[in-house]
């Protein structure tokens, strides 16, 4: 797998302009500064350039044209506007500038000449001098360059050829050479390996990450098991899985065989009303169920809720990966038109053609399923287990959508990133196969994740004020997926990812502390570049772009910390108390049933079950469950109404955002899919770039006020600085704490909790009441701020209880400082 040679081969084939190559070589030494204004990555070579080129700006960029110099390197097509500020030589490298296109994301190259257009392939020859160069990208961007009369013809033709030959025609191996072009230099490798990872989000890679999530959700009764630490139980499951506390690892081990790919039921999330969301693959049917197995399986499946479990079958009503792939390719074709001939669907057939892609239908079915699950969870105190044949596609979509709908934290940038990490990256969505980066596995290709992003966009467009992240963020994520550079997406599961990134080297486990992961093989260290995570946004986007990922002033709705998963201060009237313990229902097509073969071990043939259990579940509480669903389907639309009706009233922040799914309410993500449609450049905005939108202006003003307020109110008091000096050493405390929480030493956990409970300062009761008062949040700028103090000062409670700390957080918060921190900072 030595790819260096491949790259050089390619470059040599290109016959690059020697002078420029040398220039860029010397640039490497001078901290990669190209004399023509392009700041190269370390080791990046400029193969060709053309001056006096104009780039067409999209509506988002302010429309019109900007002129500058066009470059083709062996990693990207770069464009440097004429009067762009001089690049800072000492800044960290950014892979792509605002106007750049990575070669790997180019799908087709089309040139427009006098009265003709031509698709350019590596082998094609040009019989005319192009006037326009159009790059169609995989991420649905269409980038258009216009050659001036002043552009030397030779340069025009050369750069067209160069791009046509260098952009990565989809074939195996091209990805690796691309990665090397981007990240392969010694400097880049070094830079990447020194890169600190984002600590504001949860990566779900280690047991402590999961512990932290359990704490954040206030999920008691669960523990992190490392039974799959070496991927021996299931190759596609992560190392750490969350299972009921009462199930021992030895018991757990026996249950893997009963599930497809060994993907046993695992905990995902707890609703503040105390319901748990789980996911699992389908049951292995041809297996004999030992008496003990059955007991274990039931324990695992019911999790912490003894009474009621609803299995939600994801196969039937949701699109298959093949469906999604077909729909998406139709959508692409529809939105981009035929690339070479520029023939597009006639305008009067647009709507029905859009409908016939079924893309919107599939989005609707995912959102509907997630809404059903969200409504069930809202009912409280039951387990909802998502079941999919392999638990690696639609389960990811539905489980993460449910959390976006129900958990405000997941609507922040950091929270969303953590969610994707939890339910997709670590959970083993097969990004690598589904994205088909190598173009070697067309059968498996299916943009399941893009479908999910569109679902989130639908929610965002229906409830914009309930999100802290923005559609710019979703768009950035959408585009990054198409770039085969990120460890997050270049593997199918944690195991594969670990194999790749052995040079990361260490991981922390509660049992052994820091230790090496899977015997790193240092010999392979330098061949492949270390791949960055997609969440390392500063590597990809300028600060200007990144700043648009979040709303300037976050939503006014408070992001309360979860109260130990028991938001039952107002108990649900429909609470399903009458449930017979051990009832299992299947939710399918909007109705509940309890088919005899739902749980294979309970089906008649084995016979063991009936003896060991009290009685078969009656369907008596089916109506109760259906009522939960009806809440969404029918009567409670005003709920959605009030929950979006803005600032006047405090609402339950965990009330799910239930989307409207009727035809007129589902939109097309035009900013994503239609941004390439050159014939109809979207929303022309009479406001130019130097003329901010009034909302933006107001937001800026509010921000300034906020800052000023912060300054004024903190400067006279001497307390904050002293507290801020508090080191974050308690992180390690937290780790120890969570270690103890695992199965090995169950006893020590309550102890530590008790300790932190014992510590609260005298004023804490006061604070409690003030906290109660904040259920009417408008009286304070935002509840978040008080959380922030938790984040900043919370730990001091354990260390020293200072009576003068008026802003002491509630004990509940003190227990989960880190998670609060992430919810805030996101």
């Amino acid at each position: 797998m030595l790819t260096g040679s491949k790259t050089t081969f390619k470059v040599r084939q290109m016959l690059p302009d020697i002078k420029e190559r040398m220039l860029s070589q010397s640039g490497v030494n001078a901290r990669s500064r190209d004399v023509f204004g392009l700041r190269c990555l370390p080791g990046e070579c400029v193969l060709q350039r053309a001056v006096m080129v104009r780039k067409k700006l999209t509506a988002r960029e302010g429309r019109g044209w900007v002129s500058g110099t066009l470059f083709c390197t062996h990693f990207r097509v770069a464009f440097v506007p004429q009067d762009s500020p001089k690049a800072d030589d000492n800044a960290d490298p950014v892979l792509l500038g605002d106007h750049d296109v990575a070669l790997a994301s180019i799908e087709k190259v089309v040139v427009v000449g006098p009265n003709r257009t031509k698709l350019v392939t590596p082998n094609s020859s040009l019989k005319f001098t192009p006037e326009e160069l159009v790059l169609y990208c995989r991420d649905l961007r269409v980038v258009c360059f216009l050659f001036d009369r002043l552009t030397p013809d030779a340069q025009v033709i050369e750069i067209t050829y160069t791009i046509a030959k260098t952009y990565q025609p989809p074939k195996p191996g091209s990805v690796l050479s691309f990665q090397n072009a981007a990240l392969g230099s010694v400097e880049m490798k070094q830079f990447l390996s020194n890169r600190r990872r984002n600590t504001d989000m949860n990566w779900f890679e280690s047991a402590s990450d999961w512990e932290q999530e359990l704490e954040r959700c206030g999920a008691t009764g669960w523990r992190v098991s490392l039974v799959n630490d070496r991927f021996e139980m299931s190759t596609s499951l992560p190392r750490s899985i969350v299972v009921p506390q009462k199930v021992l690892d030895t018991e757990l081990k026996k249950s893997f065989a009963h599930f497809n790919e060994g993907r046993i039921p695992r905990w995902c999330w707890r609703h503040p009303r105390g319901s748990d969301l789980m996911r699992m693959s389908s049951f292995q049917n041809n297996i004999y169920h030992e008496k003990d197995d059955i007991r274990n399986l039931e324990m695992i499946l019911f999790g912490c809720q003894s009474s009621l479990c609803v299995v939600v079958e994801l196969g039937e009503e949701l699109p298959s990966p093949a469906d999604i792939q077909l729909a998406h390719s139709r959508l692409r074709a529809l939105c981009l038109g035929d690339l070479s001939t520029s023939v597009s669907v006639p305008d009067d057939k647009w709507l029905s053609t859009l409908e016939s892609t079924h893309w919107l239908d599939y989005i609707r079915s995912c959102l509907r399923k997630a809404s059903e699950v969200a409504c069930l969870l809202r009912g409280g105190h039951l387990t909802v287990a998502l079941q999919e044949a392999d638990d690696r596609d639609m389960a990811c979509v539905v489980s993460s959508l449910v959390q976006v709908m129900c958990d405000p934290h997941c609507r922040t940038q950091q929270g969303f990133q953590s969610l994707v990490q939890k339910e997709w990256v670590i959970a083993g969505h097969r990004f690598y196969s589904r994205m088909n980066y190598h173009r070697d596995n067309d059968k498996e290709e299916a943009p399941v994740f893009l479908l999910f992003l569109d679902c989130v966009w639908q929610l965002l467009s229906q409830y914009p004020s309930r999100f802290q992240l923005t559609d710019d963020f979703l768009l950035a994520l959408h585009d990054s997926i198409h770039l085969p550079l990120f460890s997050s997406f270049l593997a199918n599961c944690q195991r594969e990812r670990c194999k790749r990134s052995q040079n990361i080297g260490q991981s922390y486990t509660p049992v052994n502390g820091w230790r090496d992961v899977l015997h790193p093989d240092s010999s392979s260290d330098l061949s492949d570049p270390p791949l960055p995570s997609v969440w390392d946004w500063s590597l990809q986007y300028s600060k200007h772009r990144r700043d648009r990922f979040t709303q300037p002033v976050p939503p006014t709705h408070p992001l309360q910390p979860l109260l130990n998963g028991n938001l039952n201060t107002n108990p649900d009237t429909h609470r399903l108390t009458d449930t017979i313990p051990g009832s299992v229902f299947l939710l399918s097509r909007g109705t509940f049933s309890c088919p005899a073969n739902l749980l294979p071990w309970r089906s008649g043939s084995s016979g063991v079950y009936k003896k060991s259990h009290r009685r078969a579940p009656s369907s008596e509480n089916v109506p109760g469950l259906e009522r939960l669903l009806k809440a969404w389907a029918l009567a409670e639309f005003p709920q959605g109404l009030t929950s979006i009706s803005g600032p006047q009233g405090p609402l339950d922040p965990f009330e799910p955002l239930l989307p409207l799914l009727v035809g007129p309410c589902m939109g097309l993500w035009r900013e994503c899919y239609l941004r390439g449609a050159l014939h109809a450049q979207a929303f022309s905005h009479p406001i130019s770039a130097n003329h901010p939108h009034p909302v933006e202006r107001l937001a800026r003003e509010v921000q300034q006020l906020k800052d000023k307020l912060a300054q004024v109110s903190t400067s006279p008091g001497l307390k904050p600085p002293s507290m801020m000096a508090e080191p974050r050493r308690t992180d390690t405390n937290l780790n120890q704490n969570t270690n103890n929480g695992t199965f090995l030493f169950p006893a020590s956990r309550p102890q530590s909790v008790a300790m932190s409970r014992a510590a609260p300062p005298p004023t804490s009761t006061n604070h409690q009441t003030s906290k109660g008062a904040t259920s009417a949040p408008p009286s304070r700028p935002s509840h978040k701020d008080s959380n922030k103090h938790t984040f900043l000062f919370g730990h001091s409670s354990v260390a020293e209880a200072r009576p003068d700390q008026r802003c002491y957080p509630a004990p509940n918060n003190a227990k989960l400082p880190k998670s609060n921190g992430s919810s805030i900072s996101s």
Binding site: S352, S465, H693, P694, V695, L709
Partner: protein
């Protein structure tokens, strides 16, 4: 002031089902109805409203000389429909009909909904209510005055003063040395459907105008609607020339059009015929037609916009798919099959062509057949694109007064105010379509318009309500005859008395910029908040951006208050305040707060 009006407004626009469960006594269900001055109770009755969304609802219906009002016994469901919005009242079922709620009234409304009431079968219980409703819903058919003549509502503003033709011409820089103002139509003798004040080429003489009038359908000669301040290109409007089967020519008409061209020295005058060319040809059979080759220095462009009948049927189809139930799965193809958006697109793209021509310095003449439907759409939309004045709240009122009302869009015939003849072939939602086009533009240029969606909704509500004189009658001569300005109130009186309600917070004045909306199905949207507003499941959010703006405003006020309080309290901030703000230095993650973003 004007509290009853505000109640009326909020009801008509916002409330289909009032979720506020006001505890009113069952007997006194209708006690809290606030009537307008001059409004009188006619009849009330126990009835059952067959709500398409909630099923049958028991309650009481009240009919006044202005409205139909229904309130359910549990006060959950409420209806408040101006009688003017009713297009048809029918009896449903007979005395012998079986089945629950099969006997009653079926009411078709002009504003995209139907209402059904079930009554008791015993004793002809519906006879009186039917007759009274029929009488007061269609007053003109029963020799009664329209409600606009009955109401005694008073407003601080006088909306009739909003449009003064001479002033508007002066704003455009007229008269000048190329264009003059003529009062030839002072007594509606030249053209009875035109206004009294007209702008015509400076060179044209009064007898020229009369001769041209003879050759234009209904005497609607080409007159100036708008002039470009810099390049002096103009938009003129007229009706079709009376060419007829024999292909008549009229030298005066030809010369007159050439005068329009000469006024700004362009080489070619562009004549936009809004119709499809087939229709234009067909019109020759009835004496009409289009400008042929004999018009030198002119080019003719057909804009392919269909006639009033096609538009009426298209909106009818749209109603079928949005009321009461909206399909989920085949929504887009159903929407496509109504062709409504396609018609909107054609109107818009026609207007874009006009605006583009004018802004590039060429004068244009627009006509269709009679020059009061499609012509009004095209000229007013083009003017809206070209002239930012018309994008202000008052400017938009002027635009409607000028291009629609004064130039004789036949509101009375197209809407059928107070007329029982619901199947009248003259009815057509041309003005609704225009407002839809305006809405499409506000969607695409969210900061370019001073008014908001609410204004558009209010205009459409009162297009039917007959509460104001603004949209009554077909032309100015009729209005003068009926003394509309003296005896009724203008809709703009209501609007301008409460301007705040109709202002777009994002409005950013920017003059001199031409707006070209994207007239593509890919970017047009169905105006859900108008066409589907009766569906409680869809009636959702106000504009999310607007909502966000309000949130920010609230935040700003709050911070300002806090800052003030802090500055007052000086050096000893309360612990509570110290608790709330961010610590600027350490707690703000770099990427979060420092920069700003448009959530558009």
């Amino acid at each position: 002031m004007a509290s009853p009006v505000s109640v009326y407004n909020s009801n008509a626009l916002d409330t289909h089902i009032s979720s506020t469960s006001r505890e009113s006594l069952k007997m006194e269900l209708l006690a809290d109805v606030s009537l307008l001055p001059g409004e009188e109770r006619i009849i009330d009755k126990e009835t059952m409203y067959i709500c398409p969304f909630n099923g049958a609802v028991k309650g009481k219906v009240l009919i006044t000389n202005y409205r139909l009002y229904f309130k359910s016994s549990d006060a959950d469901v409420m209806l408040d429909v101006p009688l003017g919005a009713i297009s048809r009242v029918e009896k449903m079922g007979g005395a012998s009909s079986r089945g629950e709620n099969s006997y009653g009234l079926d009411i078709t409304c002009k504003d995209m909904r139907n209402l059904r009431f079930a009554l008791k079968q015993e004793g002809h219980s519906r006879r009186d209510i039917f007759e009274l409703l029929f009488k007061f819903a269609f007053p003109l058919s029963h020799g009664l005055p329209l409600f606009a003549y009955v109401t005694q509502e008073k407003y601080a503003e006088n909306g009739w003063a909003i449009y003064k033709p001479v002033e508007e011409f002066r704003r455009q820089g007229l008269p000048n040395n190329k264009w003059r103002i003529t009062f030839i139509n002072k007594n509606y003798e030249l053209c009875d459907t035109y206004p009294t004040v007209l702008a015509v080429p400076f060179k044209s003489k009064e007898e020229d105008l009369r001769r041209v009038a003879a050759f234009r359908s209904r005497g609607r000669i080409p007159v100036l609607s708008w002039i470009h301040r810099e390049n002096q290109a103009v938009i003129c409007r007229c009706s079709q020339p009376l060419v007829g089967m024999s292909g008549k020519r009229n030298k005066d008409d030809e010369r007159y059009l050439d005068m329009i061209r000469e006024a700004n020295d362009t080489t070619k005058l562009t004549i936009y015929d809004a119709r499809p060319s087939v229709n234009a040809v067909a019109n020759k059979a009835t004496g009409g037609g289009y400008e042929g080759d004999e018009y030198q220095n002119a080019e003719l462009v057909f804009l392919d916009i269909q006639n009033i009948h096609v538009m009426r049927e298209s909106l009818k189809k749209l109603k079928d798919i949005v009321y009461p139930n909206v399909e989920e799965s085949h929504w887009l193809s159903s929407l496509e099959s109504t062709h409504w958006l396609e018609h909107v697109k054609l109107v818009l793209s026609g207007a874009i062509q006009v605006a583009d021509k004018v802004s590039s310095g060429n004068s244009v003449v627009i006509h269709c057949s009679d020059g009061w439907d499609r012509t009004a759409q095209l000229s007013s939309l083009a003017m809206l694109m070209l002239d930012s004045h018309y994008r202000t709240l008052r400017g938009f009122q002027v635009l409607i007064e000028k291009e629609w009302i004064s130039f004789g869009h036949k509101f009375a015939s197209r809407i059928g105010h107070g007329d029982k003849n619901h199947a009248d072939q003259d009815r057509s939602p041309i003005f609704v379509q225009f407002i839809d086009c305006v809405w499409q533009m506000t969607k695409q240029f969210p900061t370019a318009f001073e008014f908001n969606e609410r204004l558009l909704l209010t205009i459409l509500d009162h297009l039917y309500s007959c509460c104001f004189g603004t949209f009554l009658y077909n032309c100015e001569s009729m209005r003068d005859q009926q003394e509309v300005r003296l005896k009724t109130v203008s809709l703009w009186s209501l609007v301008n008395s409460k301007m705040d309600m109709y202002l777009n917070p994002f409005y950013t004045p920017e003059s001199g910029r031409v707006l070209y909306p994207v007239a593509s199905m890919r970017h047009l949207e169905l105006w859900v908040t108008y066409y589907i507003r009766w569906n409680p499941r869809i009636r959702q959010q106000q504009s999310p951006v607007e909502q966000r703006y309000k949130e920010l405003l609230a935040l700003r006020d709050e911070y300002l208050k806090k800052l003030e309080a802090l500055e007052l309290s000086g050096s000893s901030p309360s612990s509570r305040l110290a608790n709330t703000p961010n610590n600027p230095a350490s707690s703000t993650p770099p990427q979060q707060y420092t920069q700003l973003q448009t959530p558009l």
